[in-house]
C-alpha cells in the first residue's frame, strides 16, 4: 500500500464493498481515543458521586438510582461508537451520516432531562441540527458533483481543486459546526455535567472535538492548500 494522506502512510484498509475504512497514524489515534472513552463510559459506575464538604474535612456521598441514567448512558455509548466510526471512515457521505447520528444522539441526551428549561435548550439545539443538515448533505453532494466520487482515497489522489469543491467544503464545515459543534454549548446551558451521576456526558465534548479535528483533516485532503 503506497498511499500517503497528509504526510502519513496508510497502515491498512477495511474493504466493505464500496465503503472503505482506512487507518493512518493520525486517525488511528483518534479512533482509539474515542473507543477507549466509550469503554470507560460503558463500564464505569457513576451512580455514587463523592463531594468534598466546604469548611470541613468530611466527604459527602450522593447516590442516584441506576435506572435514572440508563437511557442516557446508552445514548452516550452510541455517541462514542458513532464518533469512532467517523474517525476512520473513507467515504465522505458515510462521514456525514456518522456526524448526523452523533447529532441526533446528542439531542436525545440533552432532551432526556425532564425540566422545562432543559427541554427548551434541547428543542433549540434540535432546530439548529436540522437546519445544519442542509449544508452538511448539500456540501457532500456538491463535492460528489464536482469530483465524481465520494471516496476520500480517490479525492486525495486528485491533482486539481475547483471552486465548486471549495464551496462544498465551506458548506460541509457549516454543517458539522451546526450538527455537533454547538452541542457542548447547549449541554452546558442545561447544566448537565453537574448533575450527580452523569459525568459520562462529557462524551458530548469529546465527540464534538474529535469530529471537528477529523473534519479539518478531510477539508485539507479535499482542498490541498499545501
Amino acid at each position: 500500500m503506497d498511499i500517503t494522506i497528509l504526510g502519513s502512510q496508510i497502515i491498512g484498509i477495511i474493504p466493505l464493498g464500496d465503503i472503505v475504512f482506512y487507518f493512518t497514524q493520525f486517525n488511528l489515534f483518534m479512533f482509539a481515543t474515542a473507543l477507549a472513552f466509550t469503554a470507560i463510559v460503558a463500564i464505569s459506575k457513576t451512580e455514587t458521586q463523592v463531594e468534598a464538604e466546604f469548611g470541613k474535612l468530611g466527604d459527602r456521598a450522593v447516590t442516584v438510582a441506576k435506572k435514572e441514567f440508563k437511557i442516557r448512558r446508552f445514548l452516550a455509548i452510541i455517541c462514542g461508537l458513532a464518533t469512532a466510526g467517523a474517525m476512520i471512515t473513507g467515504d465522505l457521505f458515510d462521514f456525514t451520516l456518522f456526524v448526523c447520528l452523533t447529532g441526533i444522539v446528542n439531542i436525545g441526551i440533552v432532551g432526556a432531562v425532564r425540566q422545562v428549561d432543559v427541554l427548551d435548550a434541547a428543542y433549540q439545539y434540535g432546530l439548529i441540527a436540522m437546519m445544519a443538515s442542509l449544508p452538511l448533505f448539500g456540501g457532500a453532494a456538491l463535492i460528489l458533483a464536482a469530483t465524481g466520487t465520494l471516496s476520500l482515497l480517490e479525492i486525495n489522489s486528485l491533482t486539481y481543486t475547483t471552486p465548486m469543491m471549495i464551496l462544498g467544503s465551506i458548506l460541509l464545515f457549516l454543517g458539522v459546526a451546526g450538527e455537533t459543534g454547538v452541542a457542548p454549548f447547549f449541554a452546558t446551558k442545561a447544566e448537565m455535567f453537574r448533575t450527580p451521576g452523569s459525568p459520562f456526558l462529557l462524551i458530548i465534548h469529546l465527540s464534538s472535538l474529535l469530529i471537528l479535528v477529523r473534519l479539518i483533516e478531510i477539508l485539507l485532503m479535499i482542498n490541498k492548500p499545501f
Partner: protein
C-alpha cells in the same frame, strides 16, 4: 472540467445549476420564515422546508449514487423531526401538567365490509404482496394483515397471536441484516444476499403492520 459522459444529453447537464439555485432558494425561504415566525410548532414545520432544500441538493447530482444517498438523508431528516417534536410535546406536557397518549382515542369501526368479506380480501392482498416481495410487497401484504386484524376485532380478538408475530418480525429483520452483510463481505454470493434481504424485509414489513394491530388491541382494552 466536466466529468459527465457524452451519452448524457446537454439538457440534463444544464439542469444542475438551476437545481442548486432552487435548493438554495428553498433553504433561504425556510430560514427567513424561521426568523420571522414566533410559534414553536410553526418553526418546526418551517425547519422541515430547509430539510427539503437538502434533498434537492442531493437529488440535483442525478446519478444512481445520488438516488441511493437520498434515502439516508430522508431518514435522518425524519428521525430528527420525530425527536424534536417528541421534545416539544414533552415540554408542553410539563408546562401544562397534562399528559397525552400517542393515539389519543380508541378507534371505532362501523364498516359493513369488515363483517362480510375480510378473509377473502386479506388473502388476495397477502398473495399479491408475496408475489411482489421486497419492501413494496411487504407494505401490501401488511395492509392485508392489518385489514384482517381490524375485521377480526369487530368479532372479538384471539389474543397471544400477535406477540408471536412481533418476535418473527424481529428475526426477519436479522435475516435482512445478514443479507446485507453477505453483500458486503462475500460479494460473490450476491444472489443469496439479495434473496435474504428481499424476503427478510418482506416478512418484517408484513409483521410490522401486524404490530400496529397489537397496539390497537391494547387501546381497546383500555376502553
Amino acid at each position: 472540467m466536466i466529468l459527465v459522459p457524452d451519452v448524457v444529453s446537454p439538457i440534463v447537464v444544464g439542469l444542475y445549476a438551476p437545481a442548486i439555485i432552487v435548493g438554495i432558494l428553498v433553504g433561504l425561504i425556510g430560514l427567513f420564515g424561521i426568523s420571522v415566525e414566533k410559534n414553536d410548532l410553526h418553526v418546526l414545520i418551517l425547519t422541515d422546508i430547509v430539510g427539503i432544500g437538502m434533498l434537492i441538493f442531493v437529488a440535483a447530482v442525478g446519478t444512481d449514487l445520488a438516488e441511493s444517498l437520498i434515502l439516508p438523508g430522508l431518514v435522518v431528516e425524519l428521525a430528527e423531526i420525530l425527536a424534536i417534536s417528541e421534545i416539544l410535546m414533552s415540554r408542553e406536557m410539563r408546562k401544562s401538567g397534562k399528559t397525552v397518549e400517542l393515539l389519543p382515542t380508541p378507534l371505532h369501526y362501523n364498516l359493513e365490509i369488515l363483517q362480510t368479506a375480510p378473509v377473502f380480501l386479506a388473502i388476495i392482498l397477502i398473495a399479491y404482496g408475496a408475489f411482489l416481495s421486497g419492501f413494496t410487497g411487504g407494505a401490501i401484504a401488511g395492509a392485508g394483515i392489518l385489514f384482517y386484524v381490524m375485521s377480526i376485532k369487530v368479532r372479538g380478538v384471539p389474543s397471544g397471536v400477535w406477540e408471536g408475530l412481533a418476535g418473527v418480525s424481529g428475526m426477519a429483520w436479522c435475516l435482512w441484516l445478514v443479507g446485507f452483510l453477505v453483500l458486503f463481505v462475500f460479494p460473490q454470493y450476491w444472489l443469496l444476499g439479495l434473496m435474504l434481504a428481499a424476503f427478510g424485509v418482506f416478512i418484517k414489513v408484513v409483521f410490522k403492520v401486524g404490530i400496529i394491530g397489537v397496539m390497537n388491541r391494547e387501546e381497546f382494552k383500555k376502553e
